[in-house]
Symmetry: C2
Subunit: 236 residues, 2 copies
């Protein structure tokens, strides 16, 4: 409990706030625990709160009219979600489910607005976060429009494995469980195609999966595929 304000300090949404401000923020939020598989909200529901993950992992996904699904993003500790809804039409544009046992903190809309009023820095932080996500979304759009499935999956794995996966050469693990279907739904592919590609990489020793958790063993190879250098298909 006394940890709370300190944890908030690490959130991008509250960067630059004083200790008192953080205490204020912490005091006005509601903490909730979300056992694995909890549906926190669904697409189209009225949005009355904005959320942030303290521990665990949420899956944010958007459904099309006829069942098609796209996973928009995974939310980990310190990241917020369901916030843009408050500033647009007041309805959540996606579903939120906890992938593993998780803890979240949330603020009602009036409270958040009041906090912004009291600490304008929060508004700027919000712009920064939205800007970063917008940029990421546009990059994904370009990928989806112009790149092949294997490249998109490679990119996605690198992104999910965290910033470390961009330089190092050690094994990089994705810290939460993912099904083939999840991976497919993130990349705009089918379960079958995702399975075939990942199995190929597994046979080649590039990656492995245990308990739905994926580890990249050959970062160099995955990076090479992500950058579009074709795999060995064309070699004898």
């Amino acid at each position: 409990m006394p940890m709370r304000a300190q944890q908030l300090a690490g959130m991008r949404l509250f960067v630059g706030l004083s200790a008192e401000a953080l205490a204020d923020v912490a005091a006005t939020g509601r903490v909730q625990s979300l056992p694995k598989g909890t549906i926190l909200f669904t697409q189209g529901t009225a949005a009355d709160r904005c959320h942030a993950v303290i521990a665990g992992r949420m899956r944010i996904s958007q459904a099309g009219v006829e069942g098609s699904q796209l996973i928009v993003r995974f939310i980990g500790p310190g990241e917020m979600f369901g916030t843009m809804a408050l500033f647009t039409d007041g309805r959540y544009p996606a579903d939120a489910v906890s992938l593993i046992d998780s803890i979240e903190i949330s603020w009602t809309e009036p409270v958040l607005l009041e906090l912004i009023h009291r600490y304008p820095q929060i508004a700027l932080n919000l712009v920064r976060i939205a800007g970063a996500r917008l940029r990421e979304a546009q990059e994904r759009l370009r990928e989806l429009a112009t790149e092949q499935v294997d490249r998109r999956i490679a990119h996605m794995l690198l992104r999910l494995a965290g910033p470390g996966a961009l330089q190092g050469n050690m094994d990089a693990a994705i810290a939460f469980p993912l099904t083939r279907q999840d991976i497919a739904s993130m990349c705009g592919a089918t379960l079958y195609t995702a399975s075939r590609i990942l199995k190929t990489w597994e046979r080649a020793g590039y990656v492995s999966t245990h308990h739905r958790r994926l580890t990249i063993h050959q970062l160099v190879e995955i990076r090479r595929i992500a950058e579009g250098h074709r795999s060995q298909k064309t070699q004898p």
Copy 2:
């Protein structure tokens, strides 16, 4: 010249500002005329200004490593662009070109921050704009991931024809010139596929093009295709 403050009042970025505030905003901006084809900025360049269109139309596009292009959006009067760059890594993430003769107004970063400081409402407006775009981007992502090319093109045409295209039944025109390549680059398709689909619709009398400007004559049909009710292919 004296019109400027009034024009700014219509911009979403300056909603809720007083007349004096608008005059302040207008006075600190720089107005520039951009003949057709002017490249205002390119991807990767350092971003020192944020922009808004007063008249005309800009095309914002993102290039991949090997020449692939995605058109992110078209910017019309009253809309802003090149703004998120100031709040992320300070580099423009895309190219901006004027499609027709245009006029823009822009503010330097320090000036914009000063304005936000003086009129915090601007920060909230920024969050709203970014939120709306983020939502749109995510919807496009889902479309791109799960829908076929003809549906995506139909959707895009409806979006470009403006809000009126969603209800009315009159002809809806897209107010600026578009090549087949442009349409393809917005939808993640190839020039050839876009041409084939549009020609089919033209033959059926759903749309027509003159001087690169497209008009939808059968909104009902285009809406039907966008919603996924298959065309007559399967009928005898």
